[in-house]
């Protein structure tokens, strides 16, 4: 990673630990019952709201998808991340992400992206910023 990318990622990092504190702009419960494209759009907005620097997240996401093309199915990622929360609480989502991250680090379910050692959940969220552009 060159210096520029490193700075980019530095800014990304500044928000990743605060995922659990970020306020979703749209509740996952509403997104779950709309048409597929609307659901994707809503989820994209929700994920985007988690990142203070969306460009940095997308840079990581693109690198992740380049190295792991099998992660390129947005529906599979959404299902795996349980982003469509039928019980409709942003708090639940935040807690879930936090717990997943903890569990992934504990169990070694980590992934290397651009030589950064990241929990799978963080990498997947970055991938979704690429796969589900907000303005799609």
């Amino acid at each position: 990673m060159n210096r520029r990318n490193f700075i980019l990622f530095n800014s990304l990092w500044s928000i990743i630990p605060s995922l659990a504190l970020a306020k979703p702009t749209l509740s996952a419960s509403r997104a779950a019952f709309g048409p597929v494209s609307d659901a994707h759009r809503n989820i994209a907005q929700e994920i985007a709201s988690l990142f203070s620097d969306l460009d940095a997240a997308r840079a990581i996401g693109r690198e992740y998808l380049r190295n792991y093309p099998s992660a390129g199915d947005p529906d599979a990622l959404i299902a795996d991340l349980e982003l469509v929360d039928k019980h409709g609480s942003g708090e639940i989502l935040r807690d879930r992400v936090k717990k997943r991250r903890y569990a992934e680090f504990l169990s070694g379910r980590t992934i290397v992206v651009n030589n950064w050692i990241l929990p799978r959940t963080e990498a997947d969220l970055c991938a979704l910023t690429v796969l589900l552009p907000e303005d799609a």
Binding site: M1, F6, I16, Y102, F105, L106, T110, N115, I117
Partner: protein
Amino acid sequence: MYIDYRDDSAPAHIECDLCIIGAGAAGITMARALTDSGMHVCVLESGGFEQEEATQNLYAGETLGLTNADPLACRLRTFGGTTMHWGGWCAPLSEHDFQVRSWVPNSGWAIQYSDLVPYYQQAQRICEIGPFKYGANAFLQDVRTFPPFHPDKIDVGFFQYSPPTRFGTAYKDELGRARNVDVILHANVTRIRTDKSASRITQLQIQTLEGRTGSVKAKIFVLACGGMENARLLLLTNDIQKNGLGNGSGLVGKYFLQHVEIGAVARILSKEPKVLFDAFRKYTLPEATVAAEMRTSVKAQEKNKYLNCAFTLLETEWWDGAWDKTGYDSLREAWRQVKNGHLQDDFTKKLWSVVTDLDSAVEGTYKQIRDLPYNGELKELVLWARSEQSPNINSRIDLGSDVDHFGLRKIRVNWQLTEFDKRSVRSGLRTLAEELGRLNLGRMQVADWLMADDTSWAEPVWGGCHHMGTTRMSNDPKNGVVDRNCRMHSVQNLYIAGSSVFPTTGYVPPTLTIVSLALRLVEHLKQQLPTS
């Protein structure tokens, strides 16, 4: 008593009970431990009290394989040996380091940790460090809280800092006063003579650079010339055994090990880098100067099948080269000498370094007084990795074709690392990264070259000038060169002291273990050689 062998009044032929070849950490420790033993001990030293270019050049040789293993740069051929430029980091090997590990071929010592503990305790004093404690709660519990790492993954351990003890100055007067110890300076061993079966040494041929020659006869001989020269002298003794003295196993010079040290192996981004840095930085406490480190736990090593490694934090600015603290280091050393009431030969040089680097001296002193890290602005952290090297028969030293001043073949060093060594550092970093992430302390990015799953090694890798393994210890003569008492398997009156007997190395610098093994060897020799 000191005898300069260049002096014609010095006896050409010497007889003693015990002859120690080499006056470094091991040789000086043994000689000190034998004062008033009743044995007549002579210590042969190639150099004098000061470094001399012509003598130092006897270390010149070829370097193959990886760089950073050049004996000319790493070793010192003078009274005090390589301790005269030693960094002073001290820690014992762990219990685990002595054991056979199924995933580390050729691991396992012929002795156990418990065999060395009493000597480690004595070695602490010799190396001028604090009490013998190194575990997670050894120090700083009232000052810092360490991250609650999962014990199956990462441990916290400590290094202690020796001043560092320059054995050649710290113990010079004491050995000079010893009635039963003769230190023969400028006496180079140019030939080892044995009986016809090469099972006993009969005498040594010694020579000065100026050409004065003579001999030394003793009941017992100890090779204490360091991890390279020990093997070279054995390999040079090939008039009866063509592969070298005591080399029936063919392992003299093989399994040449160093530590795998990588200065900028990864960086950590953290919301609060100072909190993490402060936990693991150097502290000067009343009882010792210490620094904590993050080390891979035994369970993590077993589970992931990697080598023993540990990590220290550095400030980014340090790694970027901004931290030139020559003046500050010189000031500390000069102050130590004043405090001890014994000004050493380099005292004036130290003062001059302070004068020519006053900025560093002033800033360092200010930080020390305020108990601050050297650089106040901390943005990110860099990791320094230290790992053991896996025993590797292809990593070796042997004899080159060029000859030295005495017509003896020069050393040829071929330091080789393997994919296993690389994977171990990489996997150890991953274990640490996962723990830092789990505790929400930061994210780690590993150096690009290290992530490549191959055998390439980048320039920052070096061996710490810790030369080990070339006369490895074993119970079975087929698997090593010396036995559990450091006696050569096939030479009855020749022992080896120093890190060349280490079959595996842990990740800690070797000096404390060298001194401990030397003390243990003295105890053994006292039983073997009743006082005369």
